[in-house]
């Protein structure tokens, strides 16, 4: 069995769950295909995918063994553009966090490129594959409408205090809380362009649920130091790395 992450805490277990491609993530909400396309903002809903011209079949491509060995993903087969979706995860018990996202994306999806920064995480893939992946990311445990932001730019806010209604700070106010319905709605696409109609992202998860699925160690949740196993493995890696890198003349 693959060993994805050490530790006995709930946080460690959640990290293992996300990283394990065999583990089926809980579906928490329903977002339409059209809604996902709108939020991404790469094409208008219903519009054809922009692909290479002439089509790949009519192109003379150079001989390449890799091309024969590897089955291309749908988007690559069609010659789609590479597009992206970027998430920002609040430090206040967001379900996922950037490093875990990268680790789990690469375990779960083929033909993707993941980029990790301290507060945000981007995934790039061929357009039609990206839409499929985005839908999965938005509908499952990866996402919480309040603590996770879909932000192509102006990502600042993951470490700021939350709003009173639990929403993470967003300078472009893309995801807003509708007081009447109690649901979070996306009124702009990921780079802040206004949408004609808001896309309903659903109710924010409650604090207990978030603490149960979070992958973030926190002193006011589960502290990293209390997870003895995880700390022990970290120490072992640290010592091995130091000894391995130590090279006296």
């Amino acid at each position: 069995m693959a060993q994805y992450y050490p530790g006995t805490s709930q946080v460690a277990q959640s990290r293992r769950n996300f990283s394990d491609p065999e583990y089926e993530l809980e579906k928490l909400r329903e977002i339409s295909d059209e809604g996902v396309v709108k939020i991404l903002g790469h094409r208008a809903p219903g519009e054809e995918y922009k692909s290479v011209h002439p089509p790949l079949d009519e192109m003379d491509e150079p001989e390449d063994y890799i091309r024969e060995i590897v089955e291309p993903i749908d988007g690559a087969k069609a010659g789609d553009r590479v597009r992206y979706i970027q998430f920002v995860d609040s430090m206040y018990f967001a379900p996922a966090q950037p490093f875990l996202r990268s680790r789990s994306y690469l375990n779960r999806y083929r033909g993707v490129d993941a980029g990790t920064l301290s507060g945000r995480q981007i995934i790039e893939a061929r357009e039609r594959d990206l839409e499929r992946i985005s839908k999965e990311l938005l509908e499952t445990e990866y996402f919480d409408p309040a603590r996770t932001g879909i932000r192509g730019k102006s990502v600042h806010g993951h470490s700021l205090r939350l709003d009173e209604n639990g929403l993470m700070f967003d300078m472009l106010r893309r995801q807003v809380f509708n007081k009447e319905t109690g649901k979070v709605e996306s009124v702009k696409d990921q780079i802040g362009k206004e949408l004609d109609e808001p896309v309903v992202l659903g109710e924010p998860l409650d604090e207990e649920k978030l603490k149960a699925i979070t992958t973030i160690y926190r002193v006011d949740g589960e502290a990293y130091r209390d997870d003895k196993d995880a700390v022990e493995i970290l120490h072992r890696i640290h010592v091995s790395r130091s000894n391995g890198g130590f090279c006296p003349e």
Partner: protein, 150 residues
């Protein structure tokens, strides 16, 4: 003496209104400053469902709320008032808060103040009541309290 109320979440307009009403109701409170991220200016294109900027009523006085309250500075005379404020906060700020004692409102005129107001005499209670980029009349509201201004 000044205190800083540091809520663990950024306050919305309803909670800010409730909190200010309670705090301003205390006899000993002289000045109160809200500090936090600015609310976007009102625009006719705004969807009223999501609008956050509104007029709040504090002790009968209408005030346009321009910021989301991230920190609240209160100028007091007596230390015993802090306990009363703590009780108010316990009731309203259910998600947690800190109260710190210190000097949060400056007490001396700055060079910017001199440039803005010239040689005019600036009353002590107005020093430090707004930031250097804005004018006093846009920021400061007087609330009458039994003969005293606050």
């Amino acid at each position: 003496m000044d205190i800083e109320i540091f809520p663990h979440r950024i306050l919305g307009s309803d909670t800010t209104e409730r909190l200010l009403n309670e705090i301003e109701g205390l006899e000993d409170v002289n000045r109160t400053i809200l500090q936090g991220p600015r609310l976007a200016p009102e625009s006719p294109d705004d969807d009223p469902r999501y609008a956050e900027r509104r007029i709040i009523t504090v002790q009968g006085k209408e005030i346009e709320l321009k910021v989301k309250a991230g920190r609240i500075f209160v100028d007091l005379s007596e230390e015993s008032t802090i306990d009363q404020i703590r009780e108010i906060c316990n009731e309203i700020l259910t998600f947690g808060f800190d109260i710190n004692i210190g000097t949060y409102i400056r007490t001396q005129k700055t060079v910017t103040d001199s440039i803005k107001y010239g040689n005019a005499e600036l009353p002590d209670e107005l020093i430090g009541m707004n930031d250097q980029y804005s004018m006093l009349e846009d920021r400061v509201t007087y609330i009458q309290k039994d003969g005293n201004d606050s």
